[in-house]
């Protein structure tokens, strides 16, 4: 390696190691060294296979370790392998050597085993087995029964299968508390770490489901490597879960390695917390609020139904009386208006008549005038003449009037004789007389 450049800062005081060197220079030298390693063939499981525009990446794993591998797509395609190969879990032999991308100021360094050739060794690997079992269970229709089970909205008792003392249990409780759920939680602890745990998990699930009170079972694990999760791909466990009477919520999966229990369960969740929330879909606090609102709504409807109809009935019962009262009031009003109109009419007529009478008086007075005076004088003259002929006036002067006592005036001696009995009417009184000699010559 070249001598340290003078622009670089001084090294660590007291250190006997050479340097400091520029990291890029060192990375370039490292690449040269790695590329100088012997080119070899390696065997292992290809997992986490992914493809970019130019290259194919995967990890080559076995029980003791793993290497990141990269291969040019053109070289892989030139091999004429089946579509999709290498599949996850495939046992493969690769040929190539170490390579190192030293990175730059803006790019990260990257180590990979550069694969120049590849051979698929067969499907006797872990994931290939799982895939075969998955296809078989699916073909038997065992993914469906759990999903068809009705899941309670508000279970009272929930069973949980998980490792004792694991974080998954705490996460389940946290999820349930988030829902405001305070029911009964039944723990069935079982080892959840390797393939041999499967029978214990199966038994725990069966025992929980056998209890009438348990309405739902959560199988929870916080995740792990594929080998760790293989117990959840066990055929007996998956067949048992598929045919349980209670729904199972699985939370054991991994975002890249989906276990078979995830497929057969009613619901598959990514975390135990989500599994708990799926177990109690209802938020209990919100449900109480909704129930309270429903109760108030019912009360309101009940009261309104009765009160509104009672008011309507009351209105109907009052209606006839109000109708009569309205008419009576209208009649009174009309009577008052009639009287007032009559009074106004009489007064008007009176004024008119008085006016006419006055006019007539004026006309009469005007007509009477001088002619009236002359008539009065003539009348007075006649009265005097009449008075001169009044018999009582003659009597008052000393004369007497004779009648036949019946009121008929006797005006001659002959009438006196024929009458015989007469009456003499003087000024002061009447005297009866008898005619002695009736017969006269």
């Amino acid at each position: 390696m070249a001598e340290p450049r003078s622009l670089l800062p001084p090294g660590i005081p007291g250190s006997e190691l050479p340097g400091p060197f520029g990291v890029g220079e060192y990375a370039a030298r490292l690449r040269e060294r790695l590329r100088g390693f012997a080119r070899v063939q390696l065997v292992g499981e290809a997992v986490n296979c992914r493809t970019s525009r130019a290259r194919v990446f995967f990890e080559l794993r076995d029980a003791d370790g793993a290497l990141p591998c990269a291969m040019w797509r053109t070289e892989l395609e030139a091999l004429g392998l089946p579509e999709g190969a290498p599949a996850d879990g495939a046992q493969v032999v690769v040929a190539g050597g170490c390579d190192f991308y030293p990175g730059s100021r803006t790019a990260s360094p990257h180590f990979s085993f550069a694969v120049a050739d590849l051979r698929v060794a067969g499907e006797g690997d872990l994931l290939a087995q799982v895939e075969r079992l998955r296809r078989r269970l699916a073909a038997e229709g065992l993914f469906a029964p759990q999903k068809e089970l009705p899941r309670p909205l508000l279970p009272r008792t929930i069973g949980v299968v998980t490792g004792e003392g694991g974080k998954a249990g705490d996460d389940v409780i946290a999820g349930l508390r988030r829902r405001g759920w305070g029911g009964r939680l039944v723990w069935a602890h079982a080892p959840v770490q390797d393939r041999h745990a499967a029978p214990r998990i199966t038994r725990a699930v069966q025992e929980l489901a056998a209890l009438e009170a348990v309405e739902l079972v959560i199988v929870a694990r916080g995740g792990g490597s594929l080998a760790d999760l293989m117990c959840f791909c066990d055929e007996t466990l998956c067949r048992t879960v598929a045919l349980l009477r209670v729904p199972v919520i699985a939370s054991v999966g991994h975002h890249t390695d989906r276990t078979l229990i995830d497929d057969v369960a009613a619901v598959s969740c990514s975390t135990p917390t989500h599994a708990a929330e799926a177990a109690v879909p209802l938020h209990c606090g919100e449900a109480r609020g909704a129930l309270h609102r429903a109760a108030r709504s019912l009360d309101r409807h009940g009261r309104r139904a009765v009160l509104e109809r009672a008011r309507a009935l009351a209105r109907l019962s009052r209606a006839p009386a109000e109708h009569v009262a309205r008419h009576r009031s209208r009649l009174h009003q009309q009577t008052r208006e009639l009287r007032a109109a009559a009074v106004r009419r009489v007064a008007g007529e009176r004024r008119l008549t008085q006016g006419r009478a006055a006019a007539l008086d004026r006309q009469a007075a005007a007509a009477a005038g001088a002619r009236g005076v002359a008539r009065r004088a003539a009348l007075d003259g006649l009265a005097l003449a009449l008075e001169a002929h009044d018999p009582e006036r003659v009597v008052r002067r000393g004369y007497a009037v004779v009648d036949d006592r019946a009121g008929t005036i006797v005006t001659s001696a002959a009438e006196a004789r024929r009458a015989g009995a007469v009456r003499l009417l003087f000024r002061d009184d009447a005297v009866e007389a008898t005619i002695d000699r009736r017969d006269t010559p």
Partner: protein
């Protein structure tokens, strides 16, 4: 009421309130619906009450032991 579930009860309750809110129910139907709704509310409230007492944690063997004592007693009887 024994086979009634919380979800069916709330579903029926929502249907009742929708019907009442529509204003189309007559007096008799309204009173019947209100009566039925109150019964459902009581049921739902009891269900919520059952999961509102605070989380109770049991081990499976504890629950089994709690459920088992009834059996010998009934056999003895």
């Amino acid at each position: 009421m024994s086979d009634l579930s919380y979800e069916s009860a709330t579903g029926r309750l929502e249907a009742i309130i929708r019907r009442l809110d529509s204003g189309e129910a007559g007096l008799r139907e309204t009173l019947d619906l209100v009566r039925e709704g109150r019964t459902l509310v009581e049921f739902c409230a009891s269900e919520l009450e059952a999961v509102g007492q605070g989380l109770e944690e049991l081990r499976l063997d504890e629950l089994v032991a709690r459920l088992e004592p009834a059996a010998p007693t009934s056999q003895a009887a």
